[in-house]
């Protein structure tokens, strides 16, 4: 296959989390600086080395009041100011695509010579009170065709396509329990996970409080205060640093959703997912058969079904069956979300998918370490507006 201009030109050389808790005593700005400083230390770099910075700065949930930088969100300006980054020659705040798009932008900037050491982070603040509640006395635009019927919550929005998947293919909550329990078992071996040391049984999952059937509380990642940070540089520079480089073999974003519609349908999801997959495989010059482990965003529990199908690991409608055997366990043919995923790590918007792939490639994943971590697929975001994907290689 043809090679893209970025292939293996850039590498991830440092990764870190801030402390991650359901509610932190520290501001999210403080946690962002902490994560960025730890990621630089992980790479063996100083803040004076950083000449590029990017993030996806959008609030992690519906705002409950005025948005304050460092309290509700964290911008590149905040981190640059707080860390004294005086040598910047490139910065970027992406509007769509979560940390994946911020990473892709940094990869492009590094490959093009716009900067030499880029810091990429994603900060997620969990406001006090019930998460995701929106007070909308008046609605306008397309939401006037859903909000008056009580559709106004993300869990409802994302329950809809799952209901169709289940009806169309015969998937049940018992099927998904296999993934949920295995995911939590991975989190139990990950000291960075909010659910570290807290195992979950199939019965626990099936008894969880229903929010919007078919999605229960345990089908949603838990909102947290936390930040993940990643340091990238050119491959030539990477070879001189402390950690084994995780090379960026391919990178792509969805760009924009395929079309406007009333809400989310399973068909919309798969159209978007297949398009992202085509873009990534073309960019990487690889296909599903080349991947040795996958880290697929699971902010809602059933997303990995759609990603496994979109990226061509299994046929459409068959992922729920494929997840019943050992294929995606740590010793299977395609270890999946070995960190515990979003469900085990907390709501960090796909950052754990990136960091775990790097730790596996660097053979630093402790008791979670898999035998062949050479080629990772990383996908971040739901298969809608905000998604992107990378192939990382040893």
């Amino acid at each position: 296959m043809s090679r893209s201009a970025i292939q293996n030109k850039v590498a991830v050389v440092g990764v870190a989390y801030s402390d991650v808790q359901r509610h932190s005593d520290h501001t999210i700005g403080h946690l962002a600086v902490s994560a960025c400083a730890r990621a630089l230390a992980d790479a063996g770099l100083r803040s004076a080395d950083v000449d590029g910075i990017s993030t996806y700065p959008i609030p992690g949930g519906p705002p409950t009041g005025p948005i304050v930088d460092g309290i509700d969100v964290v911008s590149v300006e905040y981190v640059a100011q707080a860390m004294g980054l005086d040598n910047l020659s490139w910065s970027c705040s992406v509007a769509n695509g979560t940390i994946a798009a911020a990473l892709v932008a940094a990869v492009h900037a590094l490959a093009a010579g716009a900067c030499n050491y880029a810091l990429v982070f994603r900060a997620m603040h969990n406001p006090q009170g019930a998460f995701g509640r929106v007070t909308q006395p008046r609605v306008a635009g397309d939401s006037q065709f859903t909000a008056p019927w009580g559709f106004g919550h993300n869990v409802i929005r994302f329950a809809m396509p799952y209901s169709r998947y289940m009806a169309r293919y015969g998937a049940t909550r018992q099927h998904l329990a296999t993934y949920i329990v295995r995911n939590r078992a991975n989190a139990c071996e990950n000291p960075d996970a909010v659910f570290f040391g807290q195992p979950l049984t199939v019965d626990d999952y099936l008894a969880a409080r229903m929010i919007a059937e078919p999605l229960s509380l345990l089908d949603c990642d838990m909102p947290v205060d936390g930040v993940g940070a990643v340091v990238l540089t050119t491959s030539e520079r990477a070879r001189d640093l402390r950690q084994r480089p995780a090379y960026v073999t391919g990178a792509a974003t969805l760009g924009l959703p395929p079309r406007r519609s009333l809400g989310l349908t399973l068909e919309d999801f798969m159209t978007a997912g297949r398009r992202l997959a085509r873009a990534l495989w073309a960019n990487a010059g690889l296909s599903a058969k080349d991947i040795t482990h996958a880290h697929l965003y699971d902010g809602f529990s059933y997303f990995p079904y759609l990603w496994l199908e979109s990226f061509g690991f299994v046929r459409e409608g068959e992922a729920y069956l494929a997840l019943q055997d050992d294929m995606t366990s740590r010793t299977g043919a395609l270890p999946l979300n070995t960190s515990g995923g979003a469900l085990g790590m907390g709501r960090l918007h796909g950052t754990p998918q990136v960091i775990e792939a790097v730790l596996q490639i660097q053979r630093r994943a402790g008791t979670r370490q898999i035998a062949n971590p050479d080629v990772a697929l990383v996908e971040v975001g739901g298969p809608t507006l905000h998604c992107g994907a990378l192939v990382l290689s040893a």
């Binding site: 909308q136 006037q144 065709f145 019927w149 929010i211 059937e213 079309r259 406007r260």
Partner: protein, 131 residues
């Protein structure tokens, strides 16, 4: 409600389900938009549709997560695919049945509910299976 969407809401007051339709190619567009999503014509009108269709996707809201809808729990949110056109979805709640009757693939028909100055199209299970 705005100039683009007023015909839908005015139709609801008359207990009619009124959707935007392209005059050039006949395609229904919902939610309304200034141009046809199929042929890109900007010559659009509004027409009454029958309001019969099939449950396409659904969620049964069992926790009081939506402000203003706490007392309505449990309720079924539906996307109904109307018979007029493949993929033509409208939102509603299931009425006159328990929420667990909202099974994907079941036939439904539009009914209207007037409440506190707002008229909303809703759906009830169809009395006769479709031929």
């Amino acid at each position: 409600m705005d100039a683009l969407t007023a015909p839908f809401w005015e139709g609801a007051v008359r207990h009619e389900l009124v959707l935007q339709r392209c005059r050039a190619c006949g395609y229904y567009v919902h939610p309304p938009y200034p141009e046809c999503s199929k042929c890109r014509s900007n010559d659009l009108t509004f027409e009454v549709v029958r309001g019969c269709g099939t449950i396409f996707e659904r969620a049964i809201v069992e926790s009081p997560v939506v402000v203003g809808f706490e007392a309505a729990v449990p309720y079924a949110c539906l996307f109904v695919e109307l018979d007029e056109q493949q993929g033509l979805l409208v939102a509603g709640n299931l009425v006159d049945s328990t929420p667990d009757q909202a099974q994907i693939g079941r036939r439904v028909e539009v009914v209207f509910r007037d409440d506190d100055g707002l008229t909303l199209p809703m759906f009830k299970l169809a009395e006769q299976p479709s031929p």
